[in-house]
């Protein structure tokens, strides 16, 4: 019961998803569409599990009076406040379970939580990488040999591509960068992607046939 049923389920659903591709019939497509819907719906239940886990870890930190409990409090307050504004909105002067209508999202706070908090933080975190990558490049980019020089030249050409101060030289660099991206870059990426594809197919096969069982955990 604990290990056999999951293995059988994986085999049945895995084989079905493989076989259905070779059966271009209405019923096959119908079941395929429903299975994809099922995954999305179960995903929401997994989200509940994740939220519970997040709550428990941070609640325990607060109740055990751990040193960084203040941050856990910030996290829990922001979590519940966002969920409150996500589930409830004031429409026509009264609060209730409202979300989206033909006019868009109902909750002003919820709509702006994304625009003014999530998006700025997300893009700033990603932009931080510009500093770290520049610092890494300063240390690593030395034209010591042919390979390092190729790396350096390709990176410089691609980075100079959008430079507006290069004048007529800019057009040549832009064309060279496009050629680099569309020809040698494509060739090497294709070799890598073929390797990844083979690896993914082998892993999927191992999972379907029950050779790879790590998703079940211990016990």
């Amino acid at each position: 019961m604990k290990r056999q049923i999951p293995l059988v389920l994986v085999l049945i659903f895995g084989l079905f998803m493989v076989i259905q591709y070779f059966i271009p019939h209405e019923s096959s497509e119908w079941i395929y569409e429903y299975l994809l819907d099922w995954i999305t719906i179960i995903g929401v239940f997994a989200l509940v599990l994740g939220i519970w886990s997040l709550f428990k870890v941070n609640y325990d930190k607060i109740s055990q009076r751990k040193p960084d409990r203040g941050y856990s409090l910030v996290l829990l307050i922001s979590l519940f406040a966002t969920m409150f504004f996500g589930f409830f909105a004031k429409v026509d002067g009264s609060w209730g379970l409202h979300f989206s209508t033909a006019d868009g999202l109902q909750s002003y706070m919820y709509r702006h939580a994304y625009e003014y908090i999530i998006r700025p933080i997300q893009s700033t975190i990603f932009s931080l990488l510009a500093f770290f990558i520049a610092s890494a490049a300063y240390r690593a980019f030395r034209a010591r040999n042919v390979l390092a020089s190729l790396l350096l030249a390709a990176a410089l050409i691609v980075m100079l591509r959008f430079n507006p101060y290069l004048g007529p030289l800019g057009d040549y660099i832009s064309e060279a960068a496009n050629w680099l991206l569309n020809v040698p870059n494509l060739a090497a990426k294709r070799a890598i992607v073929i390797g990844i594809g083979l690896g993914m197919v082998a892993t999927a096969l191992k999972v379907i046939l029950g050779i790879e069982r790590s998703y079940m955990g211990k016990g």
Binding site: M17, I39, V44, F80, F99, I117, A191, L198, Y215
Partner: protein, 278 residues
């Protein structure tokens, strides 16, 4: 709390309040609805941007505050989004007419197939699997959640098997077989204007050769079952050259992407928040 920390906290709070008032007054002048809230949100956005950038100095309490706020708000955001778009948008309209009415969603009546099978019945299955997944919270019956997990893993594995086999393997190989020799009709304009994008068979043919040999030699470089010596070693060497060009190009591309994000944040700070530039 040290004296320095208290002074920094007071400075941050005063600056925040000052900015809030200033931006709210600006929004009021511009005739914006909810101008107090708008002022608060713009100030919040600017302070959070600065809080994240403060990590460049070192890991500090202001950065940690922004980090935890982000995790909390994101989790709440995606939970609400998942509930309304999937449960209310996709599941409830197929399971209950009264609940659909309550959430103001159009009821999806489904259809009878062959007179004995009602299509909406299938939507009870993910609910059952979802409840099984929540059994993970029980220490005694946690193992039942594996059934739901097995469904997701099996379906995804089957789906990925076909997807990767088709798009990452078969299609990539078939796209690599490009014409290496063509019916020669001239080299085009490459030597006259040194343009790599010039229409001409020389550039196209050289590019096709590089693509074909690049893929082949790239794969040889990753093939470790044979020693890289002789002709095989030379091919592997050419493979690593092509790979280095790719890594360089990818690096440059990533840097430019991150720099454009940084420019976006700096523009926000100087134009939308401080109003220094237009």
């Amino acid at each position: 709390m040290s004296r320095l920390a208290i002074i920094v906290t007071i400075c941050v709070v005063v600056l925040f309040l000052g900015s809030w008032i200033f931006k709210a007054l600006q929004a009021q002048d511009a005739g914006v609805d909810h101008y107090l809230l708008r002022g608060f949100l713009v100030t919040c956005s600017a302070f959070l941007t600065l809080a994240i950038l403060s990590f460049l100095y070192k890991d500090n309490p202001i950065y940690k505050f922004a980090e935890h706020l982000y995790v909390g708000i994101s989790a709440g955001y995606w939970m609400s989004q998942g509930f309304w778009s999937t449960i209310v948008g996709n599941l409830i309209p197929r399971l209950s007419q009264s609940l659909s009415g309550f959430f103001k969603q159009p009821y999806n009546a489904g259809e009878w197939m062959g007179g004995f099978f009602y299509t909406n019945w299938v939507f009870y299955v993910p609910v059952i699997f979802g409840v099984l997944l929540l059994m993970r919270l029980s220490s005694k019956y946690g193992w039942i959640s594996r059934w739901a997990l097995a469904f997701i893993v099996g379906t995804t594995a089957g789906l990925q098997f076909i997807r990767y086999m088709r798009s990452d393997f078969i299609e990539q190989i078939s796209s690599t077989f490009v014409p290496l020799l063509v019916d020669w009709q001239g080299i085009g304009h490459f030597f006259s204007n040194l343009s790599l994008s010039a229409t001409g068979q020389l550039v196209a043919m050289v590019s096709n050769w590089i693509i074909f040999l690049g893929v082949l030699c790239g794969l040889i470089y990753f093939f470790f079952s044979k020693e890289h010596t002789g002709l095989f070693g030379k091919a592997s060497r050419f493979g690593i050259w092509i790979l280095m060009v790719t890594f360089g190009a990818s690096f440059g591309y990533t840097v430019m992407g991150r720099v454009s994000l940084l420019v976006g944040r700096i523009t926000f700070l100087f134009r939308d928040w401080l109003g220094i530039t237009s």
